[in-house]
C-alpha cells in the first residue's frame, strides 16, 4: 500500500473491524438492553451483521461516494450501519434524530443523501414529508416496523430484510464488497458530521480516516484505554464526541459499546453497566447532583448527618487523594470509612463506581459540581475540543485537574493564541473541509492547516493549561471600553442549581442585563417543600419569592465579578426571568443546548428594550413550536428587576 506518513497498517474503520473480529473475536463489541435483558454481540458477530448489511446496500444500488444518512438514537444497528456504509465506500452522515423536519430537510438536501437509515415510524414520517424536495433521495431503511406495515414499501425497506437480502446475495456481491473495502485508505472520507450551528446554517464537516484513527489512537494512549473498557453510548450519534468514543476509540482499542434501553432508562442502565470510561456534558453532572441533593433533603436525620459530615471531609481531602498528593494517615482512614459508608454507595447509585477515566466538556462546569465528583474519588477531567478537530484539542492529564482550565494540548496538537486572544490549533485530527462550502473552509482553516476555534482564551501561567473565556465573537467591549464576556457571566449564573439558562446582554452598552431561565426541577422541589402552589412553569417563574431568590443569586455573581479586574464591568444591573424555557424547537438554542444569542435578542427584542428603558414590567407574547411542529403562543407580563452592583476597585487601572 502506498503509505503516506503516519499511516498505520489499518487505515479505515472497516479494516479495524476486521482486525478486531479476529483479535477480539469472542469479546463483546456491542450490548443493548432490549426486553429487559442485555443482549450482546461479539466482535465476530458484529462483523457478520455489518457485512450482511453492507452486501444488502450494494444490492440496493449504493455506490462508492454516495452519502447515506443515519438518523437514530444510540443502538448497535446504527453503529453497524455506519461501518457498513463505510465498507461499501459510501459516506455516512449522522443526523440528530430529534431535529425538526426543516432542519433535516436542509441537511439531507445539502449532502444529497440517496439513502437514509432511520429508526422508526416517527423518522420515516419526517422523511416522507420532505422527500419531494430531495431530488437524489431514493431509499429508506427502518429498524422498527411498528406502525409501518401499511406504508408503501417500494422504496422503504426493513433493516433486517436488507440484511437477509445481503446474506442471500453474498456470493454475488462479496468480491465487489471486498474490492471496495480494499480501496479505503487514510485519505478516504470516514464520516461527515454537521455542526450544530450556533450561528447560521449547519456546516458539513468532512473527517477522513486519518483524522479519526490518528486522534483515537493518540487520545487512547494518553488515557491508557484498553480493550476491556466499558462505555455507555447515550449522547447523540450526530455529535462528533460519540463518533470518537463509540466508534473511533472503541474500534481502535476494541472495547465494548453499551446502548441504553431507552433515553428514560439511562440512569438505570448506567448503574447496571458501570462504565469505566465515561463522558458527560456538565449538564448531566449538574442534573445528577441536583437529584442527589433533592433526595438528601428528604432523607432521615441520621442519613443526612452522615452524608453532610463525610461529604465535608471528602471536600477537604478527596481531591488531594485522587491527585496523589500527600494526605495524613488519620484523614485517609476517615476517608476510607467515608468510602464504605457514603462515597461507595453514592457512586454506585450514580453508576460511576468503576469510572477510571471520566470527561466533561462542551460548557464550563461549576467548580462545586466538579469538585463534588472528584472528592468522591471519581477521576473526572475536562477536555476542550470541537467537531473540526475530531474532538481533542486539549485534555487534562491525571493529577493535573482544575475546574477553570481545560488542560494541556492533546498529543500531536499544536496551539497558538492570536493577538486578539483567539485560540488556533493544528493537529492530525484537523478536518479536511466543509462540504460544498469552500468559503467557510478558507476562513476557518488557513493554508498551513491552522484552524480558528472561534474561542478566546489564554494559557494559565501557573499550570500551563489552556483557559477559555468565551466565544471570540461574543467577547466585546462595554461602552466604557471594559471587556464584555457574556458566557463567562452566564456560566457563573448557571452554577446555581436554581438557574437553568442565562443570556447576558451588554455589548456596546453602559450596563449589562440578563434573561434568566429557572430550573423547574430544583425550583419546583423548593416550591413543594415550602408549600408554594403553582400550575405552570410560567407561574412559578413569576413568583415573587422565586424572583427574590434569583436576585440574590445575581447579586452574589456581581460580588464575585467585582473582584475580577478584567471582568468587573460585566456586573448585571437589571434582569428578568423568562416566561418560557429556551428551547431548540423554537430555534433559541442549538441541539447541543447552546444559546443562540442573535435569535434570542431578535425574538425577544421588546424584552431587551425593557431591560434598558427603565420600565418595571413588560407585557409580551411569544410564539412557541410544539414537538409535533404545530405553533402556538404564550403571553405574560414580566417584571424587570434591579440588582445591586459592587464597585470595582481596580477598574480604573484595567480600563486605561
Amino acid at each position: 500500500m502506498n503509505n503516506r506518513t503516519g499511516q498505520s497498517a489499518v487505515a479505515s474503520i472497516p479494516a479495524l473491524l476486521h482486525r478486531n473480529a479476529s483479535r477480539f473475536a469472542n469479546r463483546p463489541a456491542y450490548r443493548e438492553k432490549e426486553f429487559g435483558i442485555w443482549q450482546s454481540w461479539t466482535w465476530f458477530e458484529a462483523e457478520r451483521e455489518i457485512e450482511a448489511l453492507a452486501l444488502g446496500l450494494i444490492d440496493m444500488g449504493v455506490n462508492a461516494g454516495d452519502f447515506v444518512s443515519v438518523v437514530g438514537r444510540n443502538r448497535p444497528y446504527f453503529y453497524w450501519a455506519i461501518a457498513a456504509v463505510q465498507s461499501v465506500g459510501a459516506v455516512p452522515v449522522t443526523l440528530y434524530h430529534d431535529s425538526a423536519t426543516q432542519e433535516m430537510a436542509y441537511v439531507m438536501d445539502h449532502c444529497g443523501a440517496r439513502v437514509a437509515i432511520v429508526e422508526d415510524q416517527e423518522q420515516v414520517d419526517k422523511m416522507i414529508d420532505i422527500q419531494e424536495d430531495l431530488h437524489q433521495f431514493e431509499h429508506m431503511i427502518y429498524i422498527d416496523p411498528r406502525g409501518l406495515r401499511k406504508y408503501d414499501h417500494t422504496k422503504l425497506h426493513q433493516y433486517s430484510d436488507v440484511q437477509d437480502k445481503g446474506r442471500e446475495m453474498r456470493d454475488t456481491h462479496l468480491s465487489e464488497l471486498e474490492a471496495r473495502r480494499g480501496k479505503l485508505d487514510y485519505d478516504s472520507i470516514c464520516v461527515m458530521l454537521y455542526t450544530s450551528g450556533t450561528t447560521g446554517k449547519p456546516k458539513g464537516v468532512v473527517l477522513s480516516n486519518r483524522n479519526i484513527i490518528e486522534t483515537s489512537k493518540s487520545s487512547a494512549e494518553f488515557d491508557n484505554l484498553r480493550h476491556d473498557e466499558e462505555v455507555l453510548a447515550y449522547l447523540p450519534m450526530a455529535w462528533v464526541g460519540d463518533f470518537i468514543f463509540s466508534i473511533g476509540q472503541a474500534y481502535w482499542c476494541g472495547f465494548c459499546v453499551n446502548c441504553p434501553e431507552s433515553p428514560d432508562t439511562m440512569q438505570t442502565d448506567l448503574c447496571e453497566i458501570g462504565p469505566t470510561y465515561y463522558f458527560a456534558p456538565p449538564r448531566v453532572f449538574e442534573t445528577q447532583l441536583t437529584s442527589v441533593m433533592i433526595r438528601m433533603e428528604d432523607a432521615g436525620r441520621l442519613k443526612k448527618w452522615l452524608f453532610d459530615h463525610y461529604m465535608a471531609h471528602a471536600r477537604k481531602v478527596g481531591g488531594d487523594i485522587l491527585d496523589g498528593k500527600p494526605v495524613g494517615a488519620m484523614d485517609r482512614l476517615k476517608y476510607g470509612l467515608g468510602n464504605l459508608l457514603v462515597y461507595g454507595p453514592l457512586k454506585n447509585t450514580l453508576g460511576l463506581s468503576r469510572v477510571r477515566v471520566g470527561y466533561t466538556a462542551g460548557e464550563a462546569i461549576g467548580p462545586e459540581i466538579f469538585s463534588f465528583y472528584r472528592s468522591l474519588g471519581i477521576n473526572l477531567k475536562q477536555l476542550y475540543g470541537q467537531t473540526e478537530a475530531s474532538v481533542f484539542i486539549t485534555l487534562q492529564p491525571d493529577g493535573g485537574v482544575r475546574s477553570d482550565t481545560v488542560g494541556v494540548p492533546a498529543p500531536g496538537v499544536e496551539i497558538r493564541i492570536a493577538d486578539d486572544g483567539e485560540v488556533f490549533y493544528r493537529s492530525p485530527g484537523t478536518f479536511e473541509y466543509y462540504y460544498k462550502n469552500e468559503e467557510s473552509t478558507k476562513s476557518t482553516k488557513d493554508a498551513e492547516g491552522w484552524v480558528a476555534t472561534g474561542d478566546a482564551g489564554f494559557f494559565d501561567d501557573e499550570t500551563g493549561q489552556l483557559r477559555i473565556i468565551d466565544r471570540a465573537k461574543d467577547v466585546g467591549k462595554m461602552a466604557d471600553g471594559a471587556l464584555f464576556a457574556p458566557k463567562y457571566v452566564e456560566n457563573k449564573l448557571k452554577f446555581f442549581p436554581n438557574i437553568l439558562e442565562a443570556v447576558v446582554f451588554g455589548n456596546g452598552r453602559k450596563e449589562c442585563t440578563a434573561f434568566i431561565n429557572i430550573d423547574l426541577t430544583a425550583v419546583g422541589n423548593w416550591a413543594e417543600r415550602n408549600n408554594i402552589g403553582y400550575a405552570s412553569y410560567q407561574e412559578l417563574a413569576g413568583h415573587p419569592q422565586v424572583l427574590e431568590t434569583v436576585r440574590a443569586h445575581v447579586e452574589t455573581v456581581n460580588e464575585s465579578l467585582a473582584t475580577d479586574p478584567m471582568l468587573g464591568g460585566c456586573q448585571i444591573y437589571r434582569f428578568l426571568v423568562l416566561h418560557k424555557e429556551l428551547d431548540a424547537d423554537d430555534g433559541e438554542m442549538t441541539r447541543t443546548r447552546k444559546v443562540r444569542r442573535g435569535v434570542i435578542s431578535d425574538k425577544f427584542g421588546d424584552l431587551v428594550t425593557a431591560l434598558y428603558d427603565g420600565s418595571d414590567e413588560i407585557f409580551t407574547k411569544t410564539e412557541v413550536t410544539y414537538e409535533d411542529g404545530r405553533k402556538g403562543s404564550i403571553s405574560a407580563t414580566l417584571k424587570v428587576i434591579d440588582a445591586k452592583v459592587q464597585p470595582v476597585e481596580t477598574r480604573q487601572v484595567a480600563a486605561e
Binding site: 426486553f35 429487559g36 411498528r146 406502525g147 406495515r149 401499511k150 434501553e261 431507552s262 432508562t265 438505570t268
Partner: protein, 272 residues
C-alpha cells in the same frame, strides 16, 4: 348491510373480519332500574368499536355485561358464533377477553413488572410445588411469560418504570400500566373503559397511538367507552350510541355524527 360472516377492508388498508361477538336484545335491570334496555349490536374481528353516550347511559354496564361481571336478565351474548351461557368474569377472561377499568384497578404496592405479569396468570399452569421451588415447568413458563410481558413493556414504552411500585406513578402512567396488563393477556377482545379519562392532550395522543398500534400490530379487536368525541371519531371504525339505556345510533363515525337522535342526546332537546 354487510353479512356477519363477511370480511371487508377499510380505507386505510386494515382487514375487518367477521362478527366475533354479538349482543342480542340485552336487557339489564337492577331492581326497578333498567340500566340497559333491549340493545343489540355486534363487534367484528379486528375492528375498533366505540360505545358512547351521556353520563348514566349504561355504557359501563354494557361493558360489564360483555366481561361477564353482570348477567343480563334478558337477551343473549354470542361469542365466536356460539351462545355464551352465564359466566363468571374469570371464565370470560379465559376465553380471551381482557379489560381495563374506568377507575384504575392495579396492585399499588407491586412493581409495574409484577402487575403486568399478573396479566399472564391464565398462561401459568405449573403446579404449586413446581412454582415454589421454581424448577422445570415453572421456570420455563416464567421465562416465556416474561418475554411476552417485556414485549408489551417495550411496545407501550414503559421500560423506565419497570421496577417502580405502581403506587408511585402518576395517573397517566398508571393507565398505561393497566393497558399493559390487559395486553399481556394477549386478548382476542380488549375492553377499554374510558382509557382517556383525566388525561391531558399529550397523554391522550399517546394513548390514541397505542390503541391504533395495538390494533394494527396484533390485530386486537378493541371495544372502548370514551367521552372525548374527537378521540372516538378519529379512532373507531363503528360507534354505538346509547342514551338512557337504549341504543339510539349505530354506524360509522360519520353516520353517527349526522344522526338526529344522537345530536339531540348530546346537545339536549326541549321537552314539551
Amino acid at each position: 348491510m354487510l353479512d356477519s360472516a363477511e370480511s371487508y377492508t377499510t380505507e386505510d388498508g386494515r382487514t375487518i373480519g367477521p362478527v366475533v361477538m354479538e349482543m342480542k336484545n340485552i336487557t339489564l335491570r337492577f331492581g326497578g332500574v333498567v340500566a340497559i334496555q333491549d340493545i343489540s349490536f355486534d363487534i367484528r374481528e379486528g375492528e375498533i368499536r366505540a360505545i358512547i353516550g351521556p353520563n348514566g347511559a349504561g355504557k359501563s354496564s354494557m361493558l360489564n355485561v360483555i366481561s361477564g361481571f353482570y348477567n343480563p336478565q334478558e337477551g343473549d351474548v354470542f361469542y365466536k358464533g356460539k351462545k355464551r351461557p352465564p359466566m363468571k368474569p374469570y371464565q370470560v377472561a379465559r376465553q380471551g377477553i381482557a379489560r381495563t377499568f374506568q377507575n384504575i384497578a392495579l396492585f399499588e404496592g407491586m412493581s409495574v413488572l409484577d402487575n403486568v405479569m399478573t396479566g399472564r396468570i391464565r398462561q401459568m399452569n405449573a403446579s404449586l410445588f413446581a412454582q415454589s421451588i421454581w424448577k422445570c415447568e415453572a421456570e420455563r413458563e416464567e421465562v416465556a411469560n416474561r418475554e411476552v410481558v417485556e414485549k408489551v413493556i417495550d411496545f407501550l414504552e414503559i421500560q423506565h418504570i419497570r421496577k417502580t411500585p405502581v403506587g408511585r406513578l402518576p395517573y397517566g402512567l398508571k393507565k398505561r400500566v393497566e393497558l399493559a396488563r390487559a395486553l399481556a393477556a394477549e386478548p382476542s377482545i380488549l375492553l377499554l373503559d374510558e382509557p382517556m379519562a383525566g388525561m391531558n392532550v399529550e397523554e391522550k395522543e399517546d394513548m390514541s397511538r397505542f390503541i391504533l398500534d395495538m390494533n394494527d400490530e396484533f390485530g386486537t379487536t378493541i371495544a372502548l367507552i370514551e367521552h372525548d368525541m374527537g378521540v372516538v371519531m378519529d379512532l373507531s371504525d363503528r360507534v354505538v350510541v346509547m342514551d338512557y339505556g337504549k341504543k339510539i345510533g349505530d354506524g360509522t363515525p360519520d353516520e353517527v355524527r349526522n344522526n338526529q337522535a344522537v345530536i339531540d342526546a348530546y346537545l339536549g332537546v326541549a321537552h314539551d
